[in-house]
Assembly symmetry: C2
Homo-oligomer: 342 residues x 2
Amino acid sequence: MPNLKSKITLKDIARELEVSISTVSKALKNSEEISRDTKEKIQAFARLYNYKPNNIAISLKNKRTKNIGVVIPDIVHHFFTTVIRGIEKYANAKGYNVIVCLSEESFDKEVINMEMLANGSIDGFIMSLSSETQAKGDYNHLREVTEQGIPVVLFDRITNEVECDKVVIDDQLGGYLATKKLVGQGKKKIALITTDDYLSVSKARTEGYKKALLESNLPVDESRILKLPTMDMDENKIRKFFNSQEIDAVMCVNEIFAVFSMRVALEQGFKIPEEISFIGFTNGLLSKYANPSLTVVAQHGERMGEISAQMLIDKVESENEEETFQTKILEPTLVVRDSTIN
Amino acid sequence: MPNLKSKITLKDIARELEVSISTVSKALKNSEEISRDTKEKIQAFARLYNYKPNNIAISLKNKRTKNIGVVIPDIVHHFFTTVIRGIEKYANAKGYNVIVCLSEESFDKEVINMEMLANGSIDGFIMSLSSETQAKGDYNHLREVTEQGIPVVLFDRITNEVECDKVVIDDQLGGYLATKKLVGQGKKKIALITTDDYLSVSKARTEGYKKALLESNLPVDESRILKLPTMDMDENKIRKFFNSQEIDAVMCVNEIFAVFSMRVALEQGFKIPEEISFIGFTNGLLSKYANPSLTVVAQHGERMGEISAQMLIDKVESENEEETFQTKILEPTLVVRDSTIN
DNA sequence: TTGTATGCGTTATCAG
DNA sequence: CTGATAACGCATACAA
């Protein structure tokens, strides 16, 4: 009599019922080969002892793990969080599990994580590059993986140097839309607060910003562009920036920069949005609950996650070997709140 | 000659070098049994073709996956996010991967996710109960898993009805500290904004609130306690609440409630913190960047994650079968910002 | 020093 | 209809 507690295997059932393992296997799959009697007996027994096939054994046999590896720089950023949620949603519905690894913006960690997972643990990767990787421009770890035939989907922070499926929002358009919005409200001295431009997304957003200015016959004044480190924002730097410039609007490449600098501006006595308007990126909790609430370019992270997962799983499950990659570009949308005029 | 592209196995190496599989296996483990010559030859070949053992095969053999299953209600909440980060950090350092599953506050999803993972995919669970599970009080899925000998660590949203390791912060103490802080500032009409009290944490925080009031000889007035749904906060309800009561301080059981109701109060013309002070729970981005910035009871999510991971991995790797469970209680700390007087 | 056999849990092929 | 055998990739006890 098998123990009720521990997991039961086909072998256990076979032994108890004095049949062969293969008979049990077939019976549980309701195979036509097996007689009604035997099937019922075996199925009843399996149910009673709550038999569940061992995933690992099946993975070994099928060379399919039904696991997806997700490697992202950070999980505390709302955007990545929503992407994960989207991936989870789609993947789970398809019977896949999601293994999350954080690179914490480090190249080495990204490499280690990928290697760890690439040895059979997952069927494919969904990832967004760490800032260090983008700065370094070294994508060999990605190539190694794709060359092994492991499908990869890059999202948001991508590179053109690797051939694989990609999902991005049109960041340039986002920057453009945001800037145009400000221009449309009569703003003429529009500043930009961004990161160093090795980050592909910041770069694109900056391009959109410039494009909109040029198109509106406004000068692109480099002194109106402030670059901040991702992590430690220096309040004084922002304060000086606002003081030394005449500025009537600010576009920020993320919501943290926006909310933070908005507060600095308020402290300096500026009226938002009348004197200075603000627009950020990422439609997260911060934007929603900021005071004043923040107008943002929404990136639709959850949708991005779903699409990434879908592209990956399609590739994983597709039989054909044809190497055809696509890049999906999502449209950003403006969510207007109180940090801009009406 | 094996293909440079696809994964190479022991068998491939053995065939190429015309030795047996076990010789290869031993050689790559630098076994003393194998001659220097053979070892060098095999190791060189393995390096050349970038041999990496297949995780799945090793898992099947060792009955250890080196995967941890993390089942949480939500990933958009900052608190859970930080816990994941803590888990990741510790687990990765120990060579474990983290499989994240979201219950989205649903009992059924929680059960399905656990079953999915319990069939060999993971070595143990770290989880926080969904609100539905806590409301329902049904913990059979947890018991089934522990009875199979799979270690479980519950954190934050826990239950006494399951025997396993647990990690919590002292939520009652948190509520107590927050309320005491407000009392210490001369506040007498301290309101509470909370969720329905099937959530273990809200319940405990409420107890702490009441305890502090009683201890300070202040009446516990149930009409000063407002219960809101977790998701859709009704602005009007809060407005009415503030209007109908004389209130000089508010403790909220999370940061979203706090930031949101703070804004309502501001709109109604109240001065924060002079007329109404606010304290929330969870030291997240919202609190930090809110305007005014929010005083909170910090829950130390990252630490909680690390401890959970440590407890779980200890149990997973411990040989002995003795069933001894512990509950770690972390002390909450007050992070004072501008929503309270100095 | 090397190789053979066995097993981890499952499935699939083929023989009976 | 049922069962023996091989295979997935690896590790190891035991022979040689």
